[in-house]
């Protein structure tokens, strides 16, 4: 029985990994993914997706919490937790003159965690760190030395993945410390093409990024009702490696100008990120959580051709209601969740920052009474950008399905 489940899980995991590698060219279809490493993925794991992505201060023994590694110390004895997530996104973009809609489905995460020994838990998560998927047509540029211009199409594809090892240790039952080590890797492919007179031109620049990042977390139970937490992600820089292919056709003859030639590309710096979180249980059925994160982008001194990176503040709030997780009545074990997330953006274009917000709502459906497995369904509605000349306003509906499962290992199952 156990072995079958392990086999099943392994196959599913392999498939998902295979998927995720294929999906590293995922399409967020957001024009904002043009900048930097793409749109930085907000979706988390499990129930936190419906809590406005808050959870630094949430104590969750039965669900993996990727927001704070300290929480891994809580994984119960003999439990093996895993989580598979899929997102479906429906986007609509508009600027002052036109609008467009898109949708896509993506792998969102794969994670598992287990207890190593008393007070010590660990886990590995794999989530997309960023997604690139844009297509911008008719970028008009002047031809220097003439009054003519040419119009090119710029498209981007790719994204980075984050494989993270989390370790949590409880020094005393009330105080848990965590350590995380991320390995970030992936590639972004940018293509620019145009037709000029009878010539065509296409350049494909594929940049491979890789790097590691360390993070720390802390959780402290003030009392039975209140837990506070804090996280730090150290700044790091991702090493970029560019391969460029340039092809053109002139006088009707196709010519390869450069074929996968390597070029230097400046490293991409990730900022110091600090987060503080709090969760309060005013009554047993209700959990309120609030997070504040600050990402110190200004210190990375990076800029894009339309703007620069500036410090980012993220506020997240969540509310969860479960009548009785151990009830014999199925309806009473359902979890209802709400959340809100506000992000003032890290990219400043002129005086405007590309800010965004999300409303989230979700439901957790227990699969059986014997385990703490849940099917977590979350819906998020958000908006990003401003409707001005330069910018694009993006609205999105995001549905996330997480299978947050618990397996009891090393316990001989009784057959009834």
């Amino acid at each position: 029985m156990k072995i079958n489940q392990i086999i099943f899980f392994t196959i599913a995991a392999l498939l998902a990994f295979y998927q995720s590698s294929a999906q590293s060219e995922a399409l967020t279809s957001s024009p904002y993914s043009l900048y930097g490493l793409g749109v930085i993925n907000q979706t988390s794991i499990g129930k936190f997706n419906s809590l406005g992505y808050s959870g630094i201060g949430i104590k969750s023994p039965y669900e993996l919490n990727n927001l704070n590694p300290a929480n891994y110390a809580l994984i119960p004895h003999n439990s093996f937790l895993y989580d598979i997530g899929v997102t479906g996104e429906f986007n609509s973009y508009s600027n002052t003159s036109s609008a467009e809609e898109k949708s896509n489905v993506n792998f969102s995460n794969l994670a598992f965690g287990f207890r190593i020994m008393e007070n010590l838990g660990a886990g590995i998560t794999m989530v997309p760190y960023s997604d690139v998927g844009y297509s911008i047509l008719g970028v008009s540029s002047n031809i220097e030395g003439s009054t003519d211009s040419f119009e090119s199409n710029v498209t981007g594809l790719g994204g980075l993945n984050d494989i993270k090892l989390n370790v949590g240790y409880a020094i005393i039952p009330k105080l848990r410390l965590g350590l995380s080590a991320s390995f970030l890797f992936g590639n972004i492919e940018e293509t620019e093409s145009f037709i000029y007179n009878s010539s065509t031109f296409e350049s494909i620049e594929k940049t491979n990024y890789s790097g590691a990042r360390l993070g720390f977390g802390l959780q402290y139970d003030v009392n039975d009702k209140i837990t506070i937490g804090s996280t730090v992600q150290l700044p790091t820089s991702l090493n970029g490696n560019l391969k460029r292919s340039v092809d053109k056709s002139i006088s009707g003859i196709d010519i390869s100008v450069e074929d996968e030639s390597s070029d230097n590309v400046s490293d991409f710096k990730l900022p110091l990120e600090m987060g503080f979180g709090l969760s309060i249980k005013p009554i047993e059925e209700l959990t309120f959580s609030a997070d504040y994160k600050k990402n110190f982008w200004t210190d990375t001194n990076q800029s894009e051709n339309i703007g620069s990176y500036v410090d980012q503040d993220i506020y997240a709030f969540g509310l969860e209601f479960i009548q009785d997780p151990t009830s014999y009545k199925y309806g009473q074990r359902l979890a209802y969740r709400l959340g809100y997330n506000y992000d003032n953006g890290y990219l400043a274009i002129g005086d405007n920052k590309v800010e965004g917000y999300n409303f989230t709502a979700g439901i957790g459906i227990p699969t059986s009474r014997g385990t703490h497995s849940m099917i977590n369904l979350s819906y998020s509605y958000g908006s990003k950008g401003l409707l001005q000349n330069v910018l694009v306003k993006e609205k999105f509906h995001l549905v996330t399905l997480n299978l947050s499962l618990e397996d009891i290992w090393f316990v001989k199952k009784k057959v009834y």
Binding site: A22, E25, N95, I143, V154, V246, V257
Partner: protein, 446 residues
């Protein structure tokens, strides 16, 4: 419990499998990134800079081929006109004839021998002037001197006495053909040789009648006319009559241009005497006169083999532009000199472009589809120019796939069958000078 677990497991498989399928499906959806959405104007800039460069040095000059093969001319050219620049241009044509058959009824009586020349629509210069044709009998075997070809410079000896003489006002477009009566002495002789079976095959005929030359009069100053080489339009016709019981029945025998023998016993002799001084220095095909030494002009004359030569000596200076770049387009613009052309001395819509090496040996055509095309868009402002799309040639030069000493030459497409001439503005000719407009794309700035 086991049953329940199995159910749950089945549920996982269905759900996971289902979503993975959707994910796979989404991956293979090609139109995902096929957006029609145009972001704000300055949402992003192109990563590629295009620069239009029109300051690259273009060296223009004039060269002259020692000779052009004219055995393969597509038409008979004959006529004479005096050109202010190129001198006295004379075209005369030499060819061999063979009869259709070698039998004439022994009862037949000779009537006349005429030459019919069918217009092929080509003409150059003033067709309102009278032209004169002398038909001459060739006296030596019509064989090339050294190799298998006759050239525009070839010559052959002929009888001073005219076989025929014809003065006419050419109507190359409206007219159909001209008919020239040849002298009866000659006609009778041909007739009797055939009738008496002294000549029964082509060898004997060619030995007897080596060919004829069609030569303009020394005093002509009119036009050069093209006549067809096809046997339907141009032929000698030997008329004879046979007396029958009641009446005299007329018949004829056609004698056609011999196009079957190798080497082809045909050529156009095309000469231009006493041109302007700079053109007189073109004594060898290796000589190039720079436009700066010939009034900032370059010259083209087909038939005679004068060609405009264009070279791009500083193309490698593209490497001085910082960053990595590549040639995206190149157009050469050449303006005909104003007043150098008119309704008689016409510009043609296309010129052929060939590649020559440093010794002016013709190596290839630029490409089967590349011509210099006359752009008449701004004709009312006297702004007309030939355009040549050169991107690939420039690419080859820049990458050193082609010798930097190579040059382009411009000649009319049918340069061995015409006498068109052109005068182009070379470099150094102020705002009319020949320029190269090159579009260079920089895709990496460092």
């Amino acid at each position: 419990m086991k049953v329940l677990l199995n159910k749950v497991r089945a549920l996982y498989i269905i759900i996971v499998g289902g979503f993975l399928t959707i994910a796979v499906h989404s991956c293979s959806d090609d139109i995902y990134n096929d957006s029609e959405f145009v972001a704000g104007e300055t949402f992003t800039d192109s990563n590629i800079r295009l620069i239009l460069i029109d300051t690259l040095t273009v060296n223009t000059s004039t060269m002259k081929f020692d000779s052009l093969v004219t055995s393969e001319s597509t038409r008979i050219l004959t006529g004479k006109y005096i050109d202010d620049v190129f001198g006295t241009v004379t075209a005369s044509s030499y060819m061999q004839f063979l009869p259709e058959t070698y039998t004439i009824d022994s009862e037949a009586v000779f009537d006349s021998l005429v030459m019919v020349l069918g217009y092929d629509n080509y003409y150059y210069n003033d067709t309102l002037q009278k032209n004169t044709l002398h038909i001459k009998k060739i006296t030596e075997n019509l064989n090339p001197e050294s190799d298998d070809y006759f050239y525009n410079t070839s010559s052959i000896s002929y009888d001073e006495a005219d076989l025929g003489f014809y003065e006419y006002t050419p109507r190359p477009l409206a007219g159909d053909s001209i008919t020239i009566k040849l002298v009866d002495d000659f006609g009778t002789d041909v007739f009797s040789q055939l009738q008496e079976k002294n000549i029964v095959n082509s060898d004997e005929y060619r030995d007897y009648f080596k060919g004829i030359g069609i030569i303009p009069d020394e005093t002509d100053n009119g036009s050069i006319i093209g006549f067809s080489k096809s046997s339907e339009n141009t032929y000698l016709r030997l008329y004879y009559s046979t007396d029958t019981e009641y009446e005299s029945e007329q018949d004829y025998l056609d004698v056609q241009i011999n196009a079957a023998t190798t080497p082809i016993p045909f050529f156009n002799r095309i000469t231009a005497e006493d041109p302007i001084t700079p053109l007189q220095t073109l004594t060898d095909s290796k000589v190039n006169i720079a436009s700066s030494d010939s009034d900032n002009k370059s010259y083209i004359q087909s038939g005679v083999g004068i060609a405009m030569r264009v070279q791009f000596p500083s193309i490698l200076s593209l490497y001085d532009i910082p960053g990595s770049g590549t040639i995206l387009d190149g157009t050469l613009k050449i303006k005909p000199v104003e007043q150098s052309y008119n309704d008689n001395l016409k510009l043609r819509d296309t010129l052929a472009v060939y590649v020559v090496d440093q010794n002016n040996e013709l190596t290839e055509t630029l490409s089967s589809t590349s011509y210099a095309i006359l752009n008449r868009d701004n004709q009312e402002f006297n702004d007309i120019y030939y355009e040549i799309s050169l991107s690939y040639y420039l690419e080859e030069l820049q990458l050193r796939d082609r010798d930097l000493d190579d040059a382009l030459i411009l000649l009319p497409v049918d340069y061995n069958s015409s006498v068109d001439r052109f005068i182009m503005s070379g470099n150094g000719n102020g705002e009319n000078e020949t320029i190269l407009e090159l579009t260079y794309g920089i895709y990496d700035e460092d």
